[in-house]
Assembly symmetry: C2
């Protein structure tokens, strides 16, 4: 709830639903006969349509990347730190396109949508979608908007994987690939954490094999657990230490729980003793009230499956052979989900492939989440790079 | 199921139950009026009782540290790699004492025991026990066995925390403190993982507020999830990569799951796709069949609560001021649960306190679990150190 819209905000924005009638054949072989994509745009598309950039969202993101939907909004879009007038993705220069991916739960066709073939909610019958499928649907959105070539395709984490896929699948359709906090594919440990999250959801008795909606419930506990696990992996050990240390919980929680827990005292029971516990509970609960469990399953599976080398016998540099864009990658020192060493695997592959690539490792305490946050050196480097993209586009026009 | 007992095994062993009638006042203020400790010993106590070493177990350990209970045993005790004739804790020289800690589920008094005051199972009413309480009960066990002073108290992880507590609370009762893969106290991230594990258990509908036994069920799914999360933190990213990489699951699983999943193919569904997933399922399931959920809650809380500086205004070196033993600590390069930097905090505190301390960082791929495994440099350093302890004890006799 901003009292007034900040000057560097894109302001009040309105999403727009794009319907697609052409069937989309997915990587699994299944076909989506028709689908909707929920889209937001910020800034103005220029006359020759050369200033468009695409934002690809991560696991729990959506189309609402910047600005506010109304003056009652508690918070702006998820990447408001980076999108707006004067911000790295400067809306005075760029036409920014942001969409909710297929399988999502915020307006694009997904498990919470009606399956036109049955008239029922898709629920667990929504097909498994992959990064490649998303990029395919994004290319169709570009066609719809008349954008032949993006000035840049930009994303962090799972969003960065979509950028990678763009550079491989549509080499002639982007000038710049901007990948943040990304890895070439998940490690066994990453997959393991995703599997724990999925098991948390599917073993919640309210999950009902994904048909929870028919039972008038949601698998809230499972979704909460899944988010708690996820959240630990997004934060760094050091950011958690800084945020909470071992600070014991405040009186308010002891009241909630009906315990005589004085501030700084241990409960000697199984209630919340440490602030980090109540923080995770809060994050998990909030998430479980807004996010769809079937979508969460789909998103984690898309992460697990992503492997750009699958058509290239495991050779990542071969995968980039046809790419024509310039690449920039940034990683964050305390990101232990996708540590800098994983990002450098991509950089090394691009170098071996002879592609133009810039790479910056940012010192930041915030772990994987850093790409969402106003880390000064990151914001400044990101802004400088995008400024050069803008100048290139302007000169070409 | 050994065909024959290996030469370097302690052989067939038999646990012994020690009953204690003297009430034990716990750190929480609650009192255990009486209790049992399940104990195993290996080797022979010498005449002057100077060759005894105490083994302290970690989260899911118990008294059965070495040897076999019968020729039908599938596996030996949990630390058989380190205890036996010719092994680091050489049973030709030492009298080894190993017990199941209070609150455990393998014979010592805990949630699965009958509360003598009610005639019912303790279940969730079993009091929260701390490392200090365990060490208190271990000191009584030493009294019972006539051991005034341990040649060494030895433990890894949560076991190492008990060793630390021995050195602080009973400075005159041990010659050597051997701590492996240990930290001075949990980080916020460590606590967060424990809380996810606890939430997994308590949100299982079969948990019934800890009274699952009255309902004839066990919270198997919750315990399985808890163990899966735990297991990820015990292994290193690199060991998981080495063990599983991104290898896709075998045919057998597709058959189990009734899917047409060919080897090396993705399921495009929510069944097991990667070996790491089925490995975690297996570990989690096996654990959930043998371990008590209330005990798991207690053990994680003991970990969370451990803070040896609590009586010393946060100053770890002050905590060690009265200690009289020699210290040896070892950490493992890929342990991200208790990384070497955390172990060095203890080493530094000991140096500041002017105490004799040796420290070794072992290169090992196996993460936190390395202290349980036959890592050559670790085994060799451990053996050398214990050999010197043995020589000291022999000369003093």
């Amino acid at each position: 709830m901003p009292d007034s819209i900040p000057e560097d905000s894109v302001g009040i924005v309105e999403p727009e639903l794009h319907h697609f009638d052409e069937p989309l054949t997915l990587r699994s072989g299944r076909v989506l006969p028709q689908y909707d994509l929920m889209v937001e745009t910020y800034g103005q598309l220029n006359a020759d349509k050369s200033n468009a950039v695409l934002i690809c969202h991560a696991l729990s993101g959506d189309h609402h990347a910047a600005g506010y939907h109304s003056m009652d909004d508690r918070k702006p879009g998820w990447w408001d730190n980076c999108i707006g007038p004067g911000k790295p993705i400067d809306t005075r220069h760029f036409f920014v396109v942001s969409l909710n991916n297929l399988g999502g739960c915020n307006g694009s066709t997904g498990p919470t949508s009606i399956n036109p073939e049955t008239g029922q909610y898709y629920g667990p019958d929504f097909p498994v979608v992959t990064v490649r499928d998303w990029v395919h649907s994004q290319a169709r959105l570009a066609d719809r908007l008349g954008i032949d070539k993006w000035a840049a395709v930009i994303g962090g984490s799972l969003g960065g994987m979509q950028v990678m896929r763009w550079a491989i699948s549509y080499p002639e359709r982007l000038h710049h690939a901007v990948m943040l906090a990304v890895a070439p594919k998940l490690s066994a440990q990453n997959i393991a954490f995703n599997e724990v999250a999925r098991q948390s959801i599917t073993s919640d008795p309210d999950f009902h094999d994904g048909r929870y909606r028919d039972h008038g419930v949601v698998p809230k506990r499972g979704l909460m657990l899944a988010r708690m696990v996820g959240h630990i992996t997004y934060l760094s050990d050091s950011s958690m230490r800084e945020k909470f240390g071992r600070a014991t919980e405040q009186l308010k929680h002891s009241l909630n729980l009906g315990r005589d827990l004085r501030k700084g005292k241990l409960s000697f029971g199984f209630d919340v003793d440490f602030q980090v516990e109540s923080y995770l509970h809060y994050q998990g609960e909030r998430f479980s009230e807004t996010f769809d469990a079937n979508t969460y399953l789909l998103m984690t599976k898309a992460l697990d499956y992503f492997d750009p080398t699958v058509d290239y016998e495991g050779d990542l540099s071969a995968a980039f052979a046809e790419s024509q864009c310039r690449f920039v990658l940034m990683s964050f020192s305390t990101d232990w989900r996708f540590p800098p060493a994983r990002t450098r695997e991509i950089v090394d592959a691009l170098i071996r492939a002879g592609k133009p690539v810039s790479y910056l490792e940012i010192e930041a305490d915030q772990g994987h989440d850093a790409f969402l946050l106003p880390v000064p050196r990151y914001i400044s480097a990101f802004r400088n790079y995008m400024q050069r993209v803008h100048e290139e586009v302007s000169h070409a026009s």
